[in-house]
């Protein structure tokens, strides 16, 4: 087994375990911590595929900024432990069969891969960051700017909703 494959399996195992832990844990902070572990493991997987920039941004944006906000809000609300409840009806009759179906289809794809679909290669791409930036700012500049505009609209919307009503 090559070292890269070994690292992949270790990271993947940690990510899956943390994801399960995220659902099982009853305290919101513990769940949020598990989510951070998942994010960092994903960044490791990106790094393994040679996507250095994406890996770093994954940690900075998701592991750092977004999860800090999660933890901040959980601490601010001083949320306590959740109580266990039974499965809701939707989860019982739609969720479980769908989860089983998804697992089955992924398992089938792993066991019998389609020969026409090429797998992901672990390649070192020279100047990957430069390629990403030239793609973002040259080829896909309009979708990129539109997305940032969308985020701006969302921020303003959140501000308007959060503002107290003037009487």
């Amino acid at each position: 087994m090559s070292p890269a494959l070994l690292i992949f399996f270790v990271l993947a195992a940690i990510a899956v375990l943390a994801a399960v832990n995220l659902v099982v844990q009853r305290h919101p902070i513990h769940s949020a911590l598990s989510l951070i572990v998942v994010m960092v493991c994903l960044a490791g997987l990106y790094l393994l595929m040679g996507a250095e920039f994406v890996a770093a941004v994954q940690i900075i944006v998701y592991g750092g900024a977004i999860m800090v906000l999660f933890i901040f809000v959980i601490m601010l609300l001083n949320a306590g432990e959740e109580e266990r409840t039974d499965f809701s009806k939707i989860a019982k009759f739609a969720g479980l069969p769908l989860a089983l179906a998804l697992t089955a289809s992924i398992a089938a794809a792993v066991v019998k891969p389609d020969p026409n679909v090429p797998g992901v290669t672990q390649a070192v791409i020279p100047e990957a960051t430069k390629q990403i930036s030239s793609m973002l700012f040259k080829e896909f500049v309009y979708p990129f700017e539109l997305t940032s505009f969308l985020i701006l609209v969302a921020i303003i919307g959140a501000l308007v909703l959060a503002q107290r009503e003037k009487k």
Partner: protein, 416 residues
């Protein structure tokens, strides 16, 4: 045996380098506390530590021993797992950041086990991004410590630290974009390399803070540097931005409930973060290991000796007339070692040549560390609303304007 060593030479050398760097950084950390206490004391017309060893020089060792042997109680009602995890997280992350800092350009003049030995542990393409991702994660140590301690002061400290980190990370990242635009890379060694071509050979003109290279004047990053260093002080939770541990309001903030070595771990993490930030400021804005003087001036290579020998002689003189016998022995010994190192550098020009970049790097880092202490000794702590105003309404817009002006300057005059 030899075959096994040469096969795994890379790993062995890396592990030895890590151990060596850890030893150096932890020692520097310990003496940084001594330095800080002495400087702040003299700013306030006091003596500072001077009981343990001559001039208090053994104070760090005494502090370390005390931390090890103190009782380590766990308060009631804490979330045990997170309570123990937090100091480890803070310390591990801040020490990891040092792995990507390059301390000198050239490999050692001799090869070990058939491998070149460079003065860094890792030199990745995305060095700067890795540093920022570690900074982004390092807030968890503080925030979780505050939350897990089951104390309202700690919780307030943790809340403050996470809010402060989110706010200042933006301006921290934006303020270095100007440097990135000029360097065209994320690699820390290449960023330094790009700064080594000052106008007329003058080293300091090439530094990003002046940005006056061979190709003419670009946009000097003075504003970018001020934004960077201010946000960096806030990111490391140092005075005047040390609201997470404001002792007059929150007892000790996020580490109120931590005793013994767990408290020391937060302390070491904070000082290591100070060193990392000082290294980063040196690399990004002050040319890293690029000398102040033109490269052709070989006479400036004697600066390390010229500072070390007189300082060593002065320490000997000071030691001879010191009151205690221990001081009379220890201080002249330390002074003699310093003077001997200075003389040795003159005697062996090859060694002197090799340590030049390292000397300039360390000298600049030391200046920034002094600046940290100076700021703590002179500036009063900000109020919380002032802190938020400075971050969002001053530093962020100014650093964005810096990015726009730098981009315009590169478009007009630059070639890269």
């Amino acid at each position: 045996m030899i075959a096994l060593l040469t096969q795994n030479a890379f790993w062995i050398i890396t592990i030895v380098k890590i151990a060596l760097l850890l030893f150096i950084v932890l020692t520097v950390n310990a003496y940084l506390t001594w330095f800080e206490r002495k400087v702040v004391a003299h700013i306030q017309s006091r003596w500072g530590p001077h009981r343990v060893g001559p001039h208090g020089l053994l104070q760090p060792a005494a502090d370390g021993l005390k931390f090890l042997f103190k009782e380590d109680p766990t308060p009631a009602g804490v979330d045990r797992f997170v309570y123990y995890l937090a100091p480890f997280l803070a310390l591990a992350l801040s020490l990891t950041a040092l792995a990507v800092i390059p301390f000198g350009p050239d490999p050692l003049p001799f090869s070990v086990l058939g491998q070149k030995v460079y003065l860094w542990i890792a030199n990745p393409e995305i060095g700067l991004l890795i540093l920022f991702s570690i900074t982004a994660l390092s807030v968890y140590g503080l925030a979780l410590a505050g939350w897990a301690s089951n104390s309202k002061y700690s919780l307030m400290g943790g809340l403050r630290s996470s809010a402060q980190m989110i706010s200042y990370e933006l301006s921290l990242t934006m303020s270095v974009v100007g440097v990135l635009l000029m360097a065209n890379t994320f690699s820390l060694t290449e960023i330094i390399e790009k700064q080594s071509h000052g106008l007329g050979g003058w080293g300091f003109l090439g530094w990003n803070i002046f940005a006056w290279g061979k190709g003419g004047l670009l946009f000097p990053q003075i504003i970018g540097f001020i934004c960077f260093f201010t946000s960096a002080i806030a990111e490391t939770n140092r005075a005047p931005f040390d609201l997470p541990e404001a002792e007059s309001e929150l007892v000790a903030g996020f580490h109120t409930e931590y005793a013994s070595f767990k408290f020391a771990m937060f302390f070491i993490a904070e000082y290591t973060a100070m060193i990392t930030v000082s290294c980063l400021a040196t690399i990004l804005f002050f040319g890293g290991w690029v000398s102040f003087f033109p490269e052709s001036w070989t006479i400036t290579h004697y600066i390390p000796s010229v500072t070390l020998i007189p300082f060593g002689l002065w320490v000997i003189y000071d030691g001879i007339k010191y009151e205690t016998i221990f001081g009379k022995v220890m201080l002249p010994g330390v002074g003699a070692v310093m003077a001997a190192i200075g003389a040795g550098l003159i005697a062996f020009p090859a060694v002197n040549e090799f340590i030049q970049p390292v000397f300039w790097f360390t000298a600049k880092v030391f200046v920034f560390l002094f600046f940290y202490v100076w700021a703590r000794g002179t500036l009063p702590r900000l109020r919380y609303d002032q802190l938020m105003n400075v971050g969002w309404k001053l530093l962020l817009p100014v650093s964005i304007a810096n990015v726009i002006f730098t981009a315009a300057a590169i478009l007009l005059w630059g070639q890269s």
